[in-house]
Amino acid sequence: MSAALDTVCVQLGTDGGSRGDLWRWVFLAGLSCVLMGAFFLNLALGSVRIPLSEIATILTGGEASKPSWNYIVLAFRLPKALTAILAGAALAVSGLQMQTLFRNPLADPYILGINAGASLGVALVVLATGAATGFLSNVGLLGDLSLIVSAIAGASLVTGLVIVAARWLRHAMTLLILGLMLGYATSAVVSILIYFSVPEQIQAYITWTFGSFGGVTGRQLMILAPVIGAGLLLAGLLTKPLNALLLGESYARSMGANVRRVRFWLIAGTSVLAGAVTAFCGPIAFLGVAIPHLCRSLLRTSDHRVLMPATMLMGGLVALLADLVASVPGSRTILPLNAVTALLGAPIVVWIVLHRDGPRSNFAS
């Protein structure tokens, strides 16, 4: 398998000319097919065994033998799979953007403290005293909606601070450190909240931090999908300046890129993408870091014109796979999503580092 992959990559990679480009687009087409396959696999497999023929019937608009199966496939598995694709693409793309902007192979979408801000918002709601939950219940805001709103509020707060700072700071490195420190500060506040909470509240909060695609209903998807779509579109428009940023901010400026403006849009785009995913699905680890590296390594290129669609597709694919593994088909139990993404992601990165030339050669540093 490794030899075959090598052959494919040799075809792809060493040739920087037009033949290499052609093979890259073929790879992308193949990736799309695998993505579709994984999508249907996610619809077919789950805690409950539903025969394939029934799945086909349901998807073509018919009634399955058990009416609960219709509901399970259409109202549960379908939104879950779509959410996985969107979230995976969003996280992978924003990870790519952050890695290029900060020229740091370890950067992920949460590097600007977005994750920490969302966690703070959720922690304030979940770990708040009983009086607050009573009030929220009366206002009809308790439950999923309150989690979403609070996560968005928290993420926006931190993002707002970072964006304001980005306008005045000269260097990306300063911004990075600022984001990291904001992240630490908010994590500290969350720790304090946890310390003073009762076990039930802590459990609810911790459960949120496990991440989940299954909590997004069809109606919520109608909000999430356009938001992520907008973020992905913005990322696509930023492909050209991202390529210029490969050489660093000084060179990018000398080639005609308005670095301050590009930086603003990159951060804004990442905030929207990562913030939306965190708000609806909880903080999901590892996809943002690992997928760009995986794509760079497989495609042997740093050119964002190819890398951008590749990370979108690959992100969706890996998220689907992670969700499939987390639902442990055939058994009644389920695993927390973040554990699965880390278990999938870590070996990927290790494999890349050991097997290929290493991230240095594939990557701007």
């Binding site: 492909t239 080639m255 005609g256 701007a364």
Partner: protein
Amino acid sequence: MSEPILETDDLAIGYRTHRRTQRLVAEPVNLRLYPGELVCLLGPNGAGKSTLLCTLAGMQPPLRGQVRVAGTDPYHTSPRVLARRLGMVLTDRAEVGALSVRALTALGRYPHTGWSGRLTPRDEVAIDQALTAVGIAAFAPRLVHELSDGERQKVMIARALAQEPKLLLLDEPTAFLDLPRRVELMGILRRLAREGERAVLLSTHDLDLALRGADQLWLLQPGGSIQVGVPEELVLNGAFQAAFHGDGIDFDPCTGAFAFQRPPIGRIDLTGHDLAALWTRRALEREGFVVNGYEGPPSVMRVAIHDDDGQTVWRLHHAQSHQDYPTLSQAIRGVKARLSASITE
């Protein structure tokens, strides 16, 4: 004479350390750079070359005065417009990762392409020309990280050329290269300036190459003033020596090179006029001899270079006796031995 591509009027360059304090680096600066010229910006460390380049490129504002690149103020021009006039090559070794040479050069078309960065046939032609002008057309499909430092710098120059600029600014482009590469790069830059009707300004520490290759030198003195002129002029009027005068070294206008200041350990005469004589002279001078000095009595020692059936022989004459040496190394050792022997006598 055509319009200058780069000009400054009464420019004062420097930077702000705090909100109120300014550090003045150089003033007043009045420069003109015309198409077809290759100008080297020289100066000792800390004199302010980078600050000047940054100000000329519009990356920081001048403290006073004006800069004009192709008629516009670079600090207030949009980056995209400026990039069509000015291309830069910096010292940083940009690790771009897995991009092909052609792809990296194509990045130079940034100010000309639309939002998607898609390349039109016109862009492809410009890329081809840039690659050919620098002489790396054969490298086009290879990946950048597989190239040597010298080749990579050429790619960066090609990328800057692809912007089709009128002015090329290079900040110590030869810093990491070995001597043959440096010479080659200098040749390329000269050609680019002449044949492409561009102006090329580069800052460098390579004095020798600058003296030989530049049409003009802009010499930044430690005090903050700039002297402009053809290289030889700046040597003849002593500006070079003054700028680079340091502890223990001196610029020797005769040789056009730097030499260590040492009190001479002796005097020696040398006869012979060819290549061997030239290099024997250098070796003796490094040892600290004054060779063929014209003041005072004739020297006690004399080295004569003979041609003995195609073999060069060095003969050391000393006090009526002589000694033959088949190689220069042995001759030098012999001279030194003779000198120490004569001291102890």
